[in-house]
């Protein structure tokens, strides 16, 4: 994860460009193949904004249909994935706006200034609890912490750390500068660390205790 790859222009003869050309030439069913690699990304992007699975699914469906209808306007001067994610983000933002659920950026900025960006200093939690991910409560903790972030931070962290978009692609999708992406990403990561590190430490300690006693009772 270097975060420094440029927003690449896909080569005119890349498999994706060939696919797009054949869809526009009439092989419409190939659009299924075109979007397949990005379905998960689109859902997670929509979910980050609307915070509801059903609505996120509607947003993705509407965004994908819009992308199909507007496919001829995709110029290939950005990645197809960047274009598709930007459409999904706009669709989700439009929905929030229509329902007056939109959080105003300036409000976020004020919260930014007042937020405490001091990380949690825990020296005894260093392990990655990947095995613990099977447990719903760990996933729920992560969901909750992300959901509680201000909207601007949640968008950034979702694109950058959940979708693993590059810093440049994230900036292109959101229409903001690379420098602002970096500042917000940094703050979002520290807020998540502060919130999650103590919770995850406790949860993973409980896991190791449980499995220890589990072994004892089995013996």
């Amino acid at each position: 994860m270097t975060g420094s790859d440029a927003v690449g222009s896909p080569a005119q003869n890349s498999p994706e460009a060939v696919l797009i050309a054949s869809i526009l030439a009439g092989e419409r069913e190939k659009f299924h193949l075109l979007i397949m690699p990005y379905e998960g990304q689109l859902f997670r992007t929509a979910f980050a904004l609307v915070k509801n699975e059903e609505e996120a699914e509607d947003v993705v469906q509407d965004a994908v249909l819009k992308a199909y209808r507007k496919l001829a306007s995709f110029r290939g001067d950005s990645k197809f994935s960047t274009w598709l994610i930007a459409i999904t983000l706009n669709e989700a933002r439009g929905r929030l706006r229509r329902e007056n659920r939109v959080m105003i950026d300036s409000l976020d900025e004020r919260r930014e200034e007042n937020a405490d960006f001091t990380p949690a200093a825990l020296t005894d939690w260093r392990e990655i609890p990947l095995a613990a991910l099977e447990r719903k409560e760990i996933c729920a903790m992560v969901h909750q912490a992300v959901a509680e972030l201000p909207d601007t931070y949640r968008e950034i962290v979702t694109l950058r750390d959940v979708e693993e978009c590059s810093v440049n692609d994230t900036a292109a999708i959101l229409g903001i500068s690379v420098a602002l992406v970096k500042v917000r990403l940094h703050r979002a990561r520290l807020l998540l660390q502060k919130k999650l590190a103590p919770q995850l430490r406790k949860a993973t300690k409980d896991t190791s205790k449980r499995s220890f006693f589990g072994r004892l009772s089995w013996l």
Binding site: E29, Q61, L122, E134
Partner: protein
Amino acid sequence: MALNCRHVWDRISDYIDGTLDPQVRADVERHLATCEICSAVLDSTRNIIILMADDRVFELPLDFSKRLHARLDDVLQHEHPEPA
């Protein structure tokens, strides 16, 4: 330059992404080598980033893909993309 903990925290994200310039990176590493708190902050932040990228954390709803392609199919059968 000798950095204090606050300086290092301010650079954690760029350090993880590998976007610090080499001199600053070396200063951060010198601090991390001797500061247990900052190296723990680094490890836990990195762990959380790894967790977030794991597909099991943000799973897709059951049959999400099936429903998406079914709706798409309806449109593909009846509509062409709009002309540019």
